[in-house]
Structure formats: C-alpha cells, structure tokens
Symmetry: C2
Subunit: 315 residues, 2 copies
C-alpha cells in the first residue's frame, strides 16, 4: 500500500524548554496538530499532495503563533510583506509570491499562480494586482495586527537590526521568533509529492528584502523522482546554498536517501560551507520523511496513514 505522509514545520530557532510555558507549549502542539489534520483529511480522501500542503500551510497561516499570514511580523515601515511558494513534484508546476500585502493566505495566491498564470514568480504590487483580479481573499491591516508583533518591531526599529545578532535584550524578546516561517510537504496516495512554504520574513526588514521561502530550489522544491522540501531558517545562506535543490541533487546524482541528503545539506553544507541556521522537512514518493535542523529546536509534526502522528518542538 502506498504510504501517505504529511510533514509540517512552524519555524526553527533558539527554541528551548526554559523559555516555554506549559500553556504556550500546549498552544503550539494544538496548532501543529490542527495543521496536520487539515492536510491529512485531504490525503485520506485521495486528494493530491499539492492540495494537502496548501491546506496545512493555510492552517498555520491562520494561527497567530507563527510568522506567516495572520501572524506575520512587521516590516520597518510597520507593514506586512509576505512571501510564499508552492510546487507540485509531478508536474513541476510552481507558484511564488514575494513582498505581497493584504493577502489573507499568501499560499493561496501562490497556488492561484500555478493554476491561472503562465508565470512562476510574482512580486509586490503586481502580485496584489493578480490576487485582486483572481479574487484571492484579502484582509486589512487590522487582521494582521497583533500587539505582540508590533512590540517586537518597536523594540528593534531604531537599531537597524533585522535579526538578533548579539543584543541580549532583543534576543530575550524575540528568541523563538527569529525563524517563524511555516511549511508543509506531503506524499499522496498516488505517490505524488508537493511542498509549500509561507513567511512574514524578518521583523524590521527593509528594502523589499526577499528570503529563501519563495525561491524555487532554495526554500521550496518538489520533484517526484527525488523529494519535496520546505525550509525554514536564515534565508540568505539558504539561498546561497540553494538548499532545497541541493537535497534533491544529492539524491538524484549521488544516490543518497532523503535522510542522508538532508543530513548532508543541513549539518555539512549549512554548517561548514555556507553557515546558516535553520532546518527543513522533506518527503519522497514512497512516503519516507525527514525533519532536520541545526538549531536548538524546530516546531514540527508528521502524520501518516500507517499510524505515525506526532508533533515535536525540541531535539
């Protein structure tokens, strides 16, 4: 029997038990479990992997706990500019958006691009134009506003920092928020695989910065012959390392298993060659899965049709 598998992540970073309260930990577990259910119900109905990853990511986007969709961090201008991508491993169809505002679920816009456009990658105002024309649901500033995120911005707005660096005060505030990107990968009942990733980027980002999430090959990639990958972490090194496609090539050209390939990329390439903190999740077309990270923790979960159903935060 073909194994169906859905794997999700809600970001990697300095996530350690000492900083977590029981109620917050429970909230994360519940959010991850909801996302697993949202995607898995489609897989068990025989739906395509690409629809399962879209549903799982939408669930995470709708949860204020994660830095994507509703919970997106504020840019330097106190706006929300979101990135997302989705790719089908059977058809290689891909859709990406970067720097888009007012779109309630950026992953839905990325999916609409795969269905209604000859392009792969749309950005900024143009991506919003496309969303409006194709009736992708929008939401106003109030939907995206949260006091927590706004306070994050105020704390670092005048520091010209976009990430934590070594400022202890800021680090204490943001430590589990550095990499709040969400993502999902799935293998469906027909052995087709897909990947999806969505993010609000970095608090206080400027200059229309794009990270790895919407870049096909960097933060998101899917190919039935190898793997479907969704990354989370420090976007710049993940782009320079072409991290997601690196895993695929290690499988295709070097004969590595998914787990061997991910281990190589996350713990060798992203440590020794192009240092970048973060992690990734992956599946292959047999439903095998992997979740790996070089940080203290990664919000993650996996569900299969043969009894696996778990969510984890720490190592």
């Amino acid at each position: 029997m073909q194994q169906t598998t859905l794997v999700i992540h809600g970001g990697a970073g300095t996530i350690v038990p000492e900083d977590m309260t029981p109620s917050l930990e429970q909230a994360y577990h519940q959010a991850l479990q909801e996302a697993l259910q949202a995607g898995n119900i489609l897989l068990q109905q025989g739906k395509e992997a690409v629809l399962a990853v879209k549903a799982a990511v939408e669930s995470l986007e709708n949860n204020i706990l994660f830095n994507a969709g509703k919970g997106s961090v504020f840019t330097h201008k106190a706006e929300h500019e979101m990135d997302a991508a989705i790719m089908c491993g059977k058809t290689f169809k891909a859709g990406s958006v970067a720097g888009v505002k007012y779109v309630k679920n950026p992953i839905e816009l990325a999916y609409a691009i795969t269905q209604k456009s000859n392009h792969v990658f749309l950005c900024s105002q143009g991506a919003l134009d496309f969303a409006i024309q194709h009736k992708v649901p929008l939401a106003g500033d109030d939907y995206f506003f949260s006091e927590f995120r706004y306070n994050q911005l105020q704390a670092i707005k005048d520091t010209h920092q976009v990430s934590l660096d070594h400022n202890v005060k800021i680090e204490a505030l943001l430590k589990d928020k550095k990499f709040g990107t969400v993502g999902a990968v799935a293998c469906d009942v027909n052995g087709n695989i897909a990947a999806a990733t969505s993010t609000g980027g970095m608090t206080n980002k400027k200059y229309g910065r794009i990270g790895d999430s919407p870049i096909i090959g960097a933060g998101t990639y899917a190919n039935n012959a190898t793997c479907a990958i969704s990354c989370t972490g420090h976007g710049e090194p993940f782009m320079q390392a072409v991290a997601a496609y690196d895993v695929s090539c290690l499988m295709e050209y070097k004969g590595f298993t998914l787990q061997q390939a991910m281990q190589q990329t996350v713990h060798q390439k992203l440590v020794h060659q192009i240092p970048g903190e973060g992690g990734m999740i992956g599946v292959d077309a047999k439903g095998n899965f992997a979740m790996d990270f070089n940080t203290a923790g990664m919000y993650r979960g996996v569900i299969t049709n043969n009894g696996i159903n778990e969510v984890k935060i720490y190592k």
Copy 2:
C-alpha cells in the same frame, strides 16, 4: 599559468541569418566585443572575476541592442522593471534585484547589495530605496525610452501575450527579442570565478513577474569548486529546473565536466523533463568554458589570456 577566461551572452532565441542584416550583425559583433574588452582589461590587471563580470554586463546594459539596462523592454504599464544578479564563487556572496525601476545599471545595484547589505535579494520599491540610499546611479524614463521597444509593446499590448506563442505577425517583429537577457562569467588570475546576469524581462509583462535571471541557482550561480553560470531563456522553466545549480550539482555530485554538465541540463533536462528554450554560459576555476543553447542562436563571446577571442551568433 592560470588561464583567465571571460564569457558573455546577449540572449538566446530564434536568431537566424535570414532575419539579420549585415549592418545589424556587425553592430552585435561590435557590442559583444566591447563587452569582452570591458571585462578582460580588468582580468588582465589581476582584478577579481566578480569585477570583470560586472564590467562586462554593464557594457551590455548600456547598449540599446540588448534587453537589459538601457535597452530594457516595456512592461504592460509601459514602464521598465529590471532584474539582475551577481555571485562570487569564492565567497558565495550574492546580490539580486527584481522589478527595479530607474536604476541605470541594475548589475551595479546587485553588486552594491553584496558589499553593503546583509541581504541577498531586494525587490521593487524597496530595491530602489536601497539604490538611492547607497547612491547607485539612476536614470529617468527618457534614458530607457526607445521607439523600437515602445513599438514592440504597442504590437502586443492588447493581446495579453507576454511572449511570442504562435502569432506570426508578432513573431516577425520580435523574433530575435524574445530572450535578450545579458550575462557574463569569468575566471580570474587567482582561479576565482563569478557570474552576473541582467534583464529587462519580457515585453508586456504584468503582475510584477520575476524571471530566472535574479534567482540564485536558477539564472545565476557561482562556486569555485564547480562552475559559474549565467542563463538566458524562458525564465519559468529555468526556475523550475533550477538550471544553473543543476549544472553545478552534476559536476559536484556526479563528476561531470563543465561541458558534460551543461550539455545534460540544456539538452536533456530543459528539453525532455522541463521544456524550456534558452541557453547558458559557464566557466570553471581552471578557466575552462562552455556555451550551450537549445535555440537557433545565442549572442555570445569568449576571451582568454591564451589567444582565444571570438564572438558568435548562430550555431
């Protein structure tokens, strides 16, 4: 002695002798030769590969014959939105811009990102903000205006086409303009390599469409251990194929030579797996070079410190 090599391209497409006049052909030859000289003079002074590819691409951007910088095509809104990327194979430093207006030489902005930003990829208004703040030279609409490009836009503006498809009338007008992206790769006297790519994208493009040129791994990539690659062609399949990094991985993980790897990606992957018309140029750290395309022609040239100096258009 270390071989220094500079390779450039000015786009691939349906470029056939029947459509060319002797004077136009001569103009292309001269433009390519100028770009080779602009980069090679730096290599012969012992300068870094990344500076040589920047100089060569700037020369091509300044020439109205190519779809980049000054010669960029018009978007649907009769604007110019340009993409560019540069990457150093020694340090993995990379800079990319997408959808930027008013920047005279987008490759100079991409280079400034590698020098003055912790980010890799900036887009749209934010990228222009960065350019202004860092005094990257700007130019007004009149600099980018050309009657030829404007007529191109008028001819297809209401067809909702962004490329040629099978409309004969449009094809006659645009046939050698489909892929006018420019690029350069170089190997310097120290065996360091680099790649740069710049483009105006597709005539009549909408929705802030981003192509492969600024995507690290798709249209542009450099790694001293393997190759430096700059692509030109139909951006969407090149993105889905992660074309530039595919060549690198075939070298790193399968032991292919540069020429074998490029042959595999251009004539196998981009023909049979993810069909995409176009071509690419590459060098390795020994100064070996390759130029390959699956179209009728590609404007291209190569110069080395051991006697090779040629420009070509057709197969």
